[in-house]
Amino acid sequence: MSSISIRGVAKSYGNTPVIHDLDVEIAEGEFIVVVGPSGCGKSTLLRMIAGLERITGGEIAIGQRVVNELEPKDRDIAMVFQNYALYPHMSVFDNMAYGLKIAGLPREEIRQRVDRAAAILELADFLERKPRQLSGGQRQRVAMGRAIVRDPSVFLFDEPLSNLDAKLRVQMRLEIKQLQRSLGTTSVYVTHDQVEAMTLADRLIVMNAGVAEQIDTPLAVYSHPASRFVAGFIGSPAMNFLEATLTEDGSHLGLTTGDRLTLDHRPDGLGGGQNVTLGLRPEDLLLCQEPEASLHLRVEMVEPLGADTLVHGRLSAGNGAASEGADTTLVSATAGLMTLRLPGTAHFDQGERLPLRATPKSLHLFDAANGRRLS
């Protein structure tokens, strides 16, 4: 078990920067998930921690030791690869024992450690098999086993579940979480799947184009996304975004439809008449009676999921609100498709117009220019 300090780390391939000035302190035993779209630099970050990729700038320390110049084998880490990277010509036992043999452990101890790992991972019956004789889930376990037998101070995972089918993925996700809890080993886990990220992480690093946009607990990231990117990336279905303008007195937001939403306080540093991006989670749009409605949605498509129903549609102008001279000038863009998450299996017809409201607390405001959260 070790802490990991990443201080001002940067990486470029030639002249192409891939990771910009990243800072994060990972505590002992913490489960950190790096999440972001494909190509944002997650694997590169992980591989720099592993020592498979040179660090262009900054410093990485594992425990108290700066590891920038250390070989992977001297960093006391274990890594689980996306394709598992099992040695195809070795049995499951030999795959797990390989690192221990190199470390020069006595035979008896190797046997014990592998047996213990095999018992935890339910691989005891497969120790003599070759990787190609195993199912995807079993191979994944062998890869995990290879990591845990060495009892390293850090686990690194690079999308270890992305080659499994959906059901197995959910199961393995739980197993990884339990295993990490019981071993208490500091872990860095890379994934592009935000559900995986939310369920596994003690803390998330949300990355976008080589920049850590937010580092926080899953719930904090969900409820207070630091940027428009994070807001859109975390949460499924994704947050709805609308162009809006702060009214002169700062008490309301004017929408392009002419509707107005009440704010509970004036956002910091925002002048009257300024444009903002408004974010609304699909579950924060509430069905209501016509008099309380501040928005209206024209239903275009309904997806009943069982417990929830997703309603897709477009905002439509409020009752006569659009004709109020002052507000029509605010119309700057057309509203896009919106998604609502409504509980239960309520029935909606296409073309139906739903009256909606949103509480001031559930509004997320982002700077229209740089996408930073406004508080």
Partner: protein, 293 residues
């Protein structure tokens, strides 16, 4: 599931394979049949009389200490050529696998020798190692080694081994490089994290994973050394000095075309034919099965 083309007419498929069949019959089956037939005959010294002698040519052959010597020499030659060409090719391939800049140029240069005709390769090395004009011979003499492949049988053997191996390096290189590049990078990285250094990684991961390629090349190279080195030997040493670089294939030529002993020469061809058939069987059997890990 295999994809299959079905023909409505029975003659059409035969027409398709006819050209290939004709070539095979004219250039392979017929000469082979002729060789087998000739190996059972014997001509008198003046070529006037030919009679059927059964397996007598073969009996004489294996009773002849010169032939047995040649057999051992050929084995030694083949093993040397195979080892030398495969080891250098593996070394080049491992290095090329690490080259990123200029990789294409490097590979192209290594492939060139394959396009050189065997006789030209022989002449090339003949010049390089010529005791009076060759630069390599000059270097060896400079080192105090009394190099002379025209007089010394061992020197001559070294010369033909190098010349023959050189030609085959390209071919082996291509296969080894392809084999190396088919090994997922993450395997090597996993081994590095597991604590294996470069040498350990090579012998415990890379080399075992190359074994299908290695086995395939082993057979191909032995076949090459046995049968395809005639031109190289002919252009460098002509089998000499004495018999010191005469391999089985060279002896077939020597006894048949120079010594005009058709019966014996044909019998030797048949022996070679059996060897190549044996090697091919080994290759087909094992390449399909054993080499899978």
């Amino acid at each position: 599931m295999q994809k299959r083309v079905t023909f409505r007419h029975l003659t059409l498929p035969y027409l398709f394979i006819l050209p290939q069949l004709a070539i095979t019959i004219v250039f392979f089956i017929w000469p082979a049949g002729e060789a087998i037939y000739q190996s059972l005959l014997r001509q008198d010294a003046f070529g006037l009389n030919t009679r059927f002698v059964g397996f007598e040519n073969f009996e004489r052959l294996f009773a002849d200490p010169l032939y047995i010597d040649t057999l051992w020499r050929t084995l030694g030659f083949s093993v040397s050529v195979t080892l030398l060409s495969m080891l250098s090719a593996l070394l080049f391939a491992v290095m090329a696998d690490h080259v990123i800049r200029g990789a294409t140029t490097y590979k192209t240069l290594l492939i060139w020798p394959y396009a050189v005709a065997p006789a030209i390769a022989g002449v090339l090395w003949w010049f390089l190692f010529n005791p009076s004009v060759g630069i390599l011979a000059y270097l060896l003499q400079g080192l105090g080694y009394d190099w002379n492949p025209f007089l010394d049988g061992d020197d001559a053997m070294i010369l033909v081994v190098i010349a023959s191996a050189w030609k085959q390096v390209s071919y082996n290189f291509l296969f080894f490089l392809a084999g190396l590049q088919a090994i997922p990078r993450s395997l090597i990285e996993a081994a590095a994290i597991d604590g294996a250094g470069p040498v350990k990684r090579f012998w415990s991961i890379v080399f075992p994973l190359l074994s299908p390629t290695t086995f395939f090349l082993l057979v191909v190279n032995v076949v090459y050394a046995f049968f395809d080195t005639f031109g190289t030997i002919h252009a460098t040493t002509s089998g000499g000095p004495g018999q010191s670089t005469t391999t089985l294939i060279y002896k077939v030529f020597n006894d048949g075309f120079i010594g005009l002993n058709y019966g014996s020469s044909a019998a030797q061809s048949v022996v070679l034919m059996i060897i190549v058939i044996g090697l091919t069987v080994v290759q087909f059997r094992y390449i399909e099965r054993r080499v899978h890990y």
